[in-house]
């Protein structure tokens, strides 16, 4: 059988199995196992297991449960209530101010955890009811929360970039820093959009009424202190790391424990909440790890059977595309796949094919820079994938957490302007790689 045939067969049967709705890791691992036993020859059946040994050796993966735990502690203990009040009081008086405040809240939450789940939970439980009560437009509100929380994977720390780093074999530290400026830029773009929209249509985000604005100056400044909490957690995690006292992986453990201690000190942590956090952390971590395990096995079989070579030669030789065309085509395919694929599945299945190719593209940049920049581009497409129907984590979470008055149609409708803003951000970072590369080169430049 030709390499092209094997590639097509493995890939299409995997997609078919995914469509049946079976667990993603089962579909990927099952197809990998069948291909290994039928096509490999002697010893093929050992490959799915050897992926487990590969996974074990990948040390940065330990950050995954740590950041997931951190996110659950932050969201389940409602430790962010004060933060929300701070923005509420300070931003309330302007049109759309509460929505802008929610974006800022999401930026702070993003700096304290590596996924979008915590931001979604906090946004949907704290911000959403308050905003609806203040007569904010429900589509505006659900869009703000979904878009804002997706910053969790772009603003450091980021679990998605840890997974990308594993596949691209690029430094996690640089990737995280590379996400910082684009993350803030995107947040600023959201804010600009909200401000303009609410200026034109004030009914979408009315300013707070006179009596609600009546908060004493002392109270206002006391609430500002709440903003210190994320700074403390961020500093506890990052200062020893930057000073070289902790490695990246150790820093994630420090971050998780700092969040836990903060919750205990604020008297928000009970045994029941702790058990809930632990249970959810185990569930989500296992979900990630088992998908990675299956995908590593799939990747090794796919590669060993020559299918990777077939794909590479398709892009570079047979289609004869220019480097930029290849890059744009990849982003477009990620955007399309992102609408119906889970991002982890997308990363572990497709990135191993794309990343070596991207690294070898002649874009007038060193290979190391390309891989870091591409990590940021990939993360932005993932953010978009979270929000685009039919398959998107943020969509599902919104559906699960939002009150009955918000329909599925509202949720789908809410994301359009924000997705457009994100695509604009994607294009900007694509055209100006320095937006991503400036900070890591500043810090790590030799």
């Amino acid at each position: 059988m030709s390499y092209e045939m094997i590639a097509l067969l493995m890939f299409s049967s995997m997609m078919l199995m995914l469509l049946t709705g079976q667990r993603v890791f089962g579909a990927i691992g099952g197809i990998a196992s069948i291909a290994a036993i039928m096509l490999w020859g002697t010893g093929g059946g050992d490959i799915p297991f050897s992926a487990a040994m590969k996974l074990m050796k990948w040390y940065p993966l330990l950050t995954l449960p740590m950041f997931i735990f951190m996110g659950y502690v932050l969201s389940e203990t409602k430790i962010a209530d004060d933060l929300y009040k701070m923005f509420h009081v300070w931003m309330g008086p302007i049109n759309g101010g509460l929505a802008i405040g929610t974006i800022l809240l999401m930026v702070l939450i993003s700096a304290m955890n590596g996924l979008s789940v915590a931001g979604m939970a906090i946004g949907a439980t704290i911000a959403l009811p308050e905003l609806l009560k203040r007569k904010y437009d429900k589509r505006m509100v659900t869009g703000v929360i979904q878009a804002g929380s997706s910053l969790g994977i772009l603003v450091p720390p980021s679990v998605v970039l840890v997974l990308y780093a594993m596949i691209a074999r690029a430094p996690v530290g640089q990737l995280w820093l590379a996400g910082a400026v684009p993350g803030l830029m995107m947040a600023a773009m959201f804010i600009v959009y909200i401000a303009i929209r609410c200026r034109i249509q004030p009914e979408l985000g009315p300013a707070l009424s006179e009596d609600e604005r009546d908060v004493s100056r002392g109270e206002k400044y006391r609430l500002l202190l709440a903003g210190l909490l994320p700074l403390i957690i961020f500093a506890m995690m990052m200062v020893p790391f930057v000073m070289g006292k902790t490695s990246l992986v150790e820093a994630s453990a420090v971050g998780a424990l700092t969040a836990l201690i903060a919750a205990v000190l604020k008297r928000r942590m009970t045994l029941a909440i702790l058990v809930l956090c632990l249970k959810n952390t185990l569930a989500i971590s296992c979900m990630f790890m088992w998908i990675i395990l299956a995908a590593l096995g799939f990747g090794a079989v796919f590669d060993g059977l020559g299918a990777v070579k077939a794909i590479e030669s398709l892009f570079t030789e047979q289609l004869g595309l220019s480097p930029w065309m290849i890059l744009i085509l990849m982003q477009l395919s990620f955007l399309v796949m992102g609408t119906f694929l889970d991002d982890t599945a997308m990363l572990v299945i497709v990135a191993p094919l794309y990343v070596p190719l991207v690294g070898s593209l002649d874009l007038g940049m060193p290979r190391g820079d390309i891989l870091i920049w591409y990590g940021v581009l990939y993360t932005i497409t993932t953010q978009i994938a979270y929000m685009t129907p039919p398959f998107g984590y943020n969509l599902f979470l919104m559906r699960a957490m939002a009150p009955k008055s918000i329909t599925m149609r509202d949720i789908y409708g809410s994301i359009t302007p924000f997705v457009l803003v994100m695509i604009l951000a994607l294009v900007i970072v694509m055209v100006f790689p320095q937006i991503a590369l400036w900070l890591p080169n500043l810090i790590y430049g030799k």
Binding site: L19, G21, V24, D46, V254, I284
Partner: protein, 198 residues
């Protein structure tokens, strides 16, 4: 028949839930190892063992916690169509596609058994003969006779050089429990198709 299935599901669910509820505390074990690693290199001389022990802990965490995560339904499915199906239709599809998952777990388990035998110094033919010999020797001649069967016992290629069979044994146990759990899910699907609940 139904009674036996019920008993099986109750036992497997119960055991894996109990195990998962213990394993979930493992996050503190990992955090403690990592913290010790940074404390020891700041104040004393760095420890050789922390990196690998943390890796072992991570493997135990996700392999032994896996069955409980299946119970919790946290494993992502691509529910483009799946989400809109009736419970019965879901059960019908699952009952077939879960066979693929069972097959995968079987292959994983088989690989783990091979690798475990290798880590005890056995590398020719299938591992099962070796395991039989090992058990027979242990039963008839005790630990000494059993150690006669062992060959070169594998150590990790690091300076700390731990034996690797314990973590491979953990994986065997985890994959086996995962198989039991997925089979329990299969039984639940069959029951759902028949309109029963287990």
């Amino acid at each position: 028949m139904l009674k036996a299935a019920r008993l099986y599901v109750r036992f497997v669910d119960g055991f894996n839930r109990g195990l998962g509820r213990i394993i979930m505390w493992g996050i503190f074990v990992m955090a403690a190892i990592l913290l010790w690693s940074s404390v020891s290199k700041t104040f004393f001389s760095p420890s050789l063992w922390t990196l690998e022990v943390a890796q072992f802990a991570m493997v135990a965490y996700y392999v032994l916690g896996g069955p409980y995560s299946i119970q919790l339904g946290s494993n992502v499915r691509m529910d483009l169509f799946y989400a809109d199906w009736s419970l019965k239709k879901k059960a019908w599809f699952d009952a077939f596609t879960v066979l693929l998952l069972l097959f995968y777990l079987g292959v994983l388990l088989y690989g783990a058994l091979n690798s475990f035998a290798y880590s005890l110094g056995h590398f020719t033919q299938e591992p099962f003969v070796f395991y039989r010999d090992l058990i027979v020797a242990f039963v008839t001649g005790g630990p000494e006779a059993a150690s006669e069967i062992l060959g070169f016992v594998e150590r990790s290629p690091t300076s700390w050089r731990p034996y690797v069979w314990p973590i491979k044994l953990v994986m065997i146990i985890g994959f086996f429990l995962m198989l039991l759990q997925v089979f329990a899910e299969f039984l639940k699907d069959i029951a759902r198709i028949k309109g029963e609940t287990i």
